[in-house]
């Protein structure tokens, strides 16, 4: 049974990774999960200098999901390179580094700094709804998407995944723009912008007012977008949004994703990722699927 997938020349043992920001730098989960058993670890967004993120409360529960407005707190790329990359390599994990910035220059800074580091792929987060500048603003206009992709591709030595925002009228436009800019792969979806009000205090639940909605509640939107994008571009896709178990992961794969990422579910079940890997294998066994590629995009 083959569960290997190859994306832009990088081969992963199985199609399961972690959604950026929901798995720390991998270290936080290494006591729960044998990281080498995952397709890859995708790390929390990293910027050129340390970011403190937003004030608290930063998280709120919603029906079948959660809102977060972490605001991309991260220790900066230097600490990341010194501390997190060696750790992940020691764990024999494939590494996808999620990159954030407030300006094109900042994204490029990080990409250049990572160019000679031992990481497998870069994922460019142009879709975070929780920072005032950068983030989502880049991901909601096809011209911006193409321009930033082009700039990043000029500097990156690793294959580049552009991470798309679902907060758009037509996600295929953004996907095509990233393709035109030279992206090697796409990942989707980031969070949907949402809000929760505490009716007793008559105040926003999040200090940031709005946050990103994630978790099983959003899965139908995510699957739809993966399907649309799979039919609009030729690039390989990493699908995510609300995956709880293998059945959800398989929906994304059948809709056209070559790889899937488990996000919010890590918070609720720290050992979710290997369970998804196992569940996919069991499905393949049950239905006599010898190669995962038979499933990728099989529902048209």
């Amino acid at each position: 049974m083959n569960t290997n997938v190859t994306i832009a020349g990088v081969t992963f043992n199985n199609p399961v990774t972690t959604a950026s920001g929901t798995f720390g730098s991998g270290m936080e989960y290494s006591e729960y999960v044998d990281l080498s058993k995952l397709g890859a670890v995708t790390t929390k967004g990293v910027s050129s200098i340390p970011w403190p993120g937003n004030p608290t409360p930063r998280v709120a529960e919603t029906y079948g999901g959660m809102l977060n407005a972490i605001g991309l707190q991260n220790p900066g790329v230097e600490v990341f390179i010194k501390r997190d990359i060696p750790f992940l390599r020691q764990q024999k994990a494939k590494i996808i580094v999620n990159v954030v910035g407030k300006t094109t220059e900042e994204y490029c800074d990080v990409v250049e700094r990572l160019a000679d580091c031992d990481v497998d792929m870069l994922e460019i987060n142009i879709s975070c709804p929780n920072v005032k500048e950068g983030g989502i603003a880049f991901g909601q206009d096809p011209r911006c998407v193409e321009a930033i992709t082009t700039e990043i591709k000029k500097r990156a030595k690793q294959p580049v995944i552009m991470k798309l925002s679902p907060n758009v009228t037509d996600i295929t436009e953004m996907a095509k723009a990233a393709e035109a800019g030279g992206a090697d792969a796409l990942s989707l979806i980031n969070t949907l912008t949402g809000m929760k009000i505490d009716i007793h205090r008559r105040a926003f639940l999040l200090a940031n007012k709005t946050g990103g909605l994630s978790g099983p509640a959003i899965k139908p939107v995510a699957v739809r977008m993966v399907y649309q994008v799979a039919n609009a571009v030729k690039l390989p896709l990493i699908g995510m949004g609300g995956i709880v178990g293998a059945e959800d992961a398989l929906e994304f794969i059948m809709a056209g994703a070559s790889m899937v990422a488990v996000g919010t579910t890590n918070f609720i079940n720290p050992s979710a990722t290997p369970e998804v890997v196992r569940g996919i294998e069991e499905y393949m066994k049950k239905y006599n699927i010898s190669d995962i590629h038979e499933l990728i995009g099989c529902v048209k």
């Binding site: 403190p52 608290t56 930063r58 609720i268």
Partner: protein, 255 residues
């Protein structure tokens, strides 16, 4: 893999001890094995609409029977669900989480405010020095009898229905309490008051903080508090309440 794992625990007892306040004993030997006062347990709901864990402080640890006690207030739908659990029911729990209190000092004041009172009970049990317990309530009191075994108990109530009318600092002042160490758990305004009091009197203080959580294990960065120094994990002045806390020295954190 030594981390606290999510496991199914059996409810050994669950009863109301005051209006909307419940005391629950869980059979959870994995948790009691390493549990310390000031640590907490993440409880999970049995309803898929409520995904995130509910952090509840450890109130008592019974290592012999492998049972842990949690005392909680009905604050919303999750705790309401817990209140409905019966003996032998199952509940998913992960713990012990967080750092817990450091046992130290010769003469201590243990301060609990409202639903911050429960974790002080196990601390009172384990702390081997002279102990003065200051318990602050809005109106209805609970658990205060159980503290009497471990030292003198001073009470404050906002409405003055019992003990000193006012807050815990009022009770400390009214009773002229002295100490070389303070342990406190309660709402942020109370902790702020305790920190100021401790600073003023040059007393070391350990504060147990509260923040909204998602993962409970230090990964999501949801539950941070502002720290005085750059933190080694965040590389900014943020500490995680769930992992680096919930207990901090007063001078470590900004309140």
């Amino acid at each position: 893999m030594s981390a606290a794992m999510k496991k199914i625990a059996l409810v050994a007892e669950n009863r109301m001890i005051a209006e909307d306040i419940y005391s629950m004993w869980l059979n959870a030997p994995d948790i009691t094995e390493t549990a310390k006062p000031g640590q907490f347990v993440s409880l999970y709901c049995n309803n898929g609409s409520r995904l995130l864990p509910r952090p509840i402080s450890i109130c008592e640890i019974d290592k012999i029977q492998g049972r842990v006690r949690l005392v909680y207030r009905i604050a919303g739908k999750g705790t309401k669900e817990f209140a409905g659990l019966k003996e032998q029911d199952q509940i998913e729990a992960m713990g012990p989480l967080g750092n817990g209190f450091t046992l130290e000092g010769k003469k201590a004041i243990l301060i609990g405010g409202g639903i911050g009172i429960p974790p002080m009970l196990e601390l009172a049990k384990q702390l081997d020095c002279e102990k003065q317990m200051v318990l602050g309530y809005r109106d209805i009191t609970f658990l205060e009898k159980e503290f009497e075994t471990y030292g003198k108990v001073f009470i404050s109530t906002e409405d003055g229905s019992k003990g000193v009318k006012g807050n815990v600092i009022d009770a400390i002042k009214a009773n002229g309490l002295e100490a070389d160490i303070i342990f406190a758990c309660g709402p942020t305004p109370m902790l702020r008051g305790v920190k100021a009091y401790a600073l003023e009197h040059g007393i070391t203080a350990q504060l147990s903080m509260e923040e909204r959580m998602a993962c409970g294990i230090g990964a999501c960065l949801g539950c941070i508090c502002k720290s005085k120094e750059v933190d080694h994990h965040s590389n900014v002045k943020n500490k995680r309440v769930c992992k680096d806390g919930p207990v901090f020295y007063a001078d470590e954190v900004e309140l």
